[in-house]
Symmetry: C2
Subunit: 567 residues, 2 copies
């Protein structure tokens, strides 16, 4: 499909191109600062002619080998330096979810200029984009033509537009070409390797439901270690093909932009989460891996094109726990779920590690265990569940390993964020007690597995009992007609709070319940009563056509709470 495409002359590396940056002075022979930029240089050295990046479902399809892509990355670094970008400067990127090749380029090319990529969520409103551009003090903006309207007027920094063509004449391509010209063929040796592995790697803003978004800064060291862990845990290798469904602006694509390169995998880019295209690639392009939140996965498994895969695909799931029904659907299609848990940091921090004994469990039992967030990831360190610190102290005390006592997840180690950008107060608060305070409420099971019960605001205090909206959702989702479900607290004169469930029906079940929503409500309540204590059974059930979601696909319970507050 992309055979007619020829990379621009500026993308072709010279023969015998050196693939090492200039070493900073004074490094001992046995110490190299960790830096995920190293991966693309190594891939271009070992597998120069392997297809690295494919962007086929667009008007101007392109595909790049590692050698060509690596040259483009080098060009981008020089172009940024020519544009005045200094080490540590932020480079904003506003590009499709998911992906113009430009975002992929940036994860490597901006680092090669020793600058910091700041990928911005394309689903934000112009005012939010303006806030992030201002707060990050980005010195230059790389923007996809589709999202130019998100930019504020009167910008004082350069804007480079990509028309996503990969052809000469495209402003982004011209930018790369100018970088190549500016390099005067000094090659990689004309760029300097960052001497400090604790330098900032990326700046990603949270989609914070309350207050202003916060800028999460990661380090080169953390990104290197997290990317290798992702490649290892997901088993990404030379023969792997990764499909970009997860937005790369979400926690820098959970470090998969680097993990895939570390593993020499081929990456396929998609501009939008289009389930028809996703199934086309699943069935025709040899896809082996993808990442996505459960809500995205639900869309995939329920698409009309869904069918049993000829080869298994690994789905890395985070953002929320997969329900039993989702796990069953994935497995029936030949998709192996890998359930991980992270934050807007480096992506996965814990993983649900499968145990041999689970094979003997029923799907319901197994999926309950698989919904746990599990144990620390390969290069993560501690994930603890602790009591709220007592006033006046910072000492963190672990809750017992009883699977019942609720505490907060705190993490520490090399893949914990460096800081909130320009916000020492929020940083200090997040690191209170010497660990990162996640804000996620969880229990610790006897086997050391962490299981989220809810974020603190998601607990429903019903008749004096703490009901976990997550646990209720898990049970309601096991009803065969339920597609997605969200449960929030609704005020009750008698009980204080009581659960209110919002439900979408499976496409195949909509007709069945048409005009009989009351009957469905009764049936779902009976379903709940068999599985949940009385205080946790939903008092109200609303069937809706869709659930409100954040730009990263998380269900906006905040909006649902506003609805029930008016009832």
């Amino acid at each position: 499909m992309t055979s007619a495409f020829r990379p621009t002359p500026a993308s072709i590396p010279p023969p015998n191109a050196g693939l090492a940056l200039r070493q900073p002075k004074g490094l001992p022979p046995n110490f190299q600062p960790l830096n995920p930029l190293q991966f693309i240089l190594r891939a271009a050295d070992i597998y120069p002619n392997k297809v690295a990046l494919v962007h086929s479902d667009v008007k101007y399809p392109v595909s790049y080998t590692f050698a060509v892509w690596c040259q483009r990355i080098q060009n981008l670094a020089y172009a940024l330096i020519q544009a005045g970008i200094k080490p540590g400067d932020r480079v904003a990127i506003i590009a499709p979810n998911s992906y113009s090749c430009k975002v992929s380029d940036a994860h490597h090319g901006v680092l090669a200029a020793k600058a910091v990529p700041c990928p911005i969520n394309t689903r934000l409103k112009p005012a939010e984009v303006a806030y992030i551009l201002e707060h990050s003090r980005s010195s230059i903006i790389l923007v996809d033509h589709e999202f130019v309207h998100l930019l504020p007027q009167n910008l004082k920094v350069p804007v480079i537009v990509s028309n996503d063509t990969g052809r000469p004449g495209d402003p982004y391509e011209n930018f790369l070409s100018s970088g190549r010209a500016f390099s005067q063929e000094r090659g990689w040796a004309g760029l300097e390797y960052d001497a400090d592995e604790n330098s900032a790697a990326t700046l990603c803003y949270t989609s914070g439901t309350t207050g202003r978004p916060k800028g999460v800064v990661t380090t080169l060291r953390g990104s290197y270690l997290a990317a290798i862990a992702n490649a290892y845990e997901s088993r990404i290798h030379l023969e792997s093909t990764y499909l970009w469904i997860l937005p790369m602006f979400h926690a820098a694509g959970w470090t998969f932009p680097w993990a895939n390169v570390f593993g020499f995998a081929t990456q396929i880019c998609l501009r939008t989460v289009d389930n028809s295209l996703i199934w086309k690639h699943f069935l025709q392009s040899g896809v082996t891996h993808y990442c996505g939140a459960p809500t995205v996965q639900i869309g995939i498994v329920n698409h009309p094109s869904a069918k049993k895969l000829p080869r298994p695909i690994s789905a890395i799931i985070a953002g929320a726990a997969p329900t039993a029904s989702l796990i069953a659907s994935l497995e029936q299609l030949g998709i192996t779920p890998i359930h991980v848990y992270g934050l807007t940091l480096y992506g996965p921090f814990t993983r649900n590690f499968p145990q041999a004994a689970w094979a003997n469990l029923s799907l319901q039992e197994r999926s309950k265990i698989m919904a746990r967030q599990g144990h620390p990831f390969a290069t993560a360190q501690d994930a603890r569940v602790v009591y709220p610190p007592k006033d006046g102290t910072d000492t963190l005390v672990d809750v017992p390993r009883d699977g019942k006592t609720v505490g907060e997840i705190v993490t520490r180690g090399n893949i914990v964020m460096k800081e909130y950008f320009r916000d020492p107060e929020a940083t200090a608060k997040a690191f209170r007690g010497g660990s990162f305070n996640s804000g996620d409420l969880a229990v610790m099971h006897p086997d050391g597995a962490v299981a989220i019960v809810d974020r603190s605001k998601d607990i429903i205090i019903s008749g004096g009992e703490n009901a976990s909206s997550l646990a209720i959702e898990q049970e309601l989702a096991s009803h065969p007609c339920v597609l997605e479900v969200a449960v929030v607290a609704r005020n009750s004169f008698k009980w204080g709070e009581r659960p209110h469930a919002f439900v979408t029906l499976r496409p195949t079940s909509i007709a069945k319940w048409k005009g009989r929503h009351g009957d469905f409500e009764k049936e779902l309540k009976a379903h709940a009563k068999e599985r949940l204590p009385g205080f946790a059974c939903p008092e109200w059930v609303s069937i809706v056509s869709e659930l409100p979601k954040t730009s990263t696909g998380k269900i906006l319970k905040f909006d649902l709470r506003k609805i029930v507050a008016k009832l």
Copy 2:
């Protein structure tokens, strides 16, 4: 087989044992010093009941789960501390090749006491062992009962003997029990995590053919990164079973003692390289991985028990390049060779990365390419081939990528040794020019792959031409009757030097050439003439029953040179 065995009471961890060491004061929440000790704690946390270590082919077979093994490691750390071991002290280990569980314990338990394991080659002579014990200033010696005779008289440091029983009453088990008692159940929290990732991890002595052995010091950071790279490149995972054929005293087992634990693999120990036992485990124990030098691999593939394997096994090969004949034999049996190259440092530093295009090559052509040492390993950094530095300068200049120009391999990065112990002069010499000077002569191919031609002393200057003894050996090994071959320079009045080949015959070919060695010599010379330039053809061929080898299985060309010097 081991079901009747019960671990000693001191090996049983208490319920809900904490699996984290005391953190050193002042560490930020987002920084954890890299340390391979972390792996066993994580394995015991996530897979406590999985079999970690099996030692079955002995009078007292044992097997330990990760939880039990982890407790033994903790006990060892406390026992060492009770014995007066301080951070940084060396702990000598003299144990079978390959393995009492004691050596496996030491790679983790000595680190847990913040001390440095110093595994000593069991094939050395008492005087050499005495030298290493003295030079390393080891503060305590863990020794297997079979090797007590290697110890000098009048030792001033404590010696703990293991009878390799795993049963109460064994002095080593008593030592562990005393550690448990000394711990007063403080558990892992009573031990401190090393604050400095650049602390020494291991001290391994070279088997130096000339001069005194040198003590190679590795770091915790390097060991962590090298172990993860080995797990990743070899694809060691939960379902893997690793068979210990490689001596663990050889470059600390190429970091596989940690790599296997990182991957949650089961490790099977063998006290000796017994090909019958090896094949028993290959066929009956679900072995998936092992490491070994070509000379060991030759023994394996030529053993009478050798047969096509039901499941593929990955063989990590280093120490010398595998010959075409070895590659063919391995592949026919279902063994996938992974050719890596390293030094007495952390094991693998480069790897021969397979290319899709090789599938179209003949076995002869493919194995020639597979014999190259290849490109830098996953977490390695630079492997260059450089000219000898000009006198008075330290600048390293790369040879052209022409596959012809011979230079020296130099390496740098995180998995390069820290230093030669107590030898600043040798360290400075090794690091001359800001890289580690390997002493291995090589060419750089156009694709960036390094290929060793020889160590400098192995070049034969024949008629003014440089003949690589390695290249000659590769060609002679392709003769169907040749088992192993070593080529050295022999003085020639006419040519200066000329190659002399020492050959062992395959067991199946011995009868064929009995009493006709002269005929075989003619045939082998003709075989060489078809494949090599005249100056590289052996002038003399000697059939021998076995080749002299170092304790680590390398052919002792030094001894062969002594033989030809007398001819």
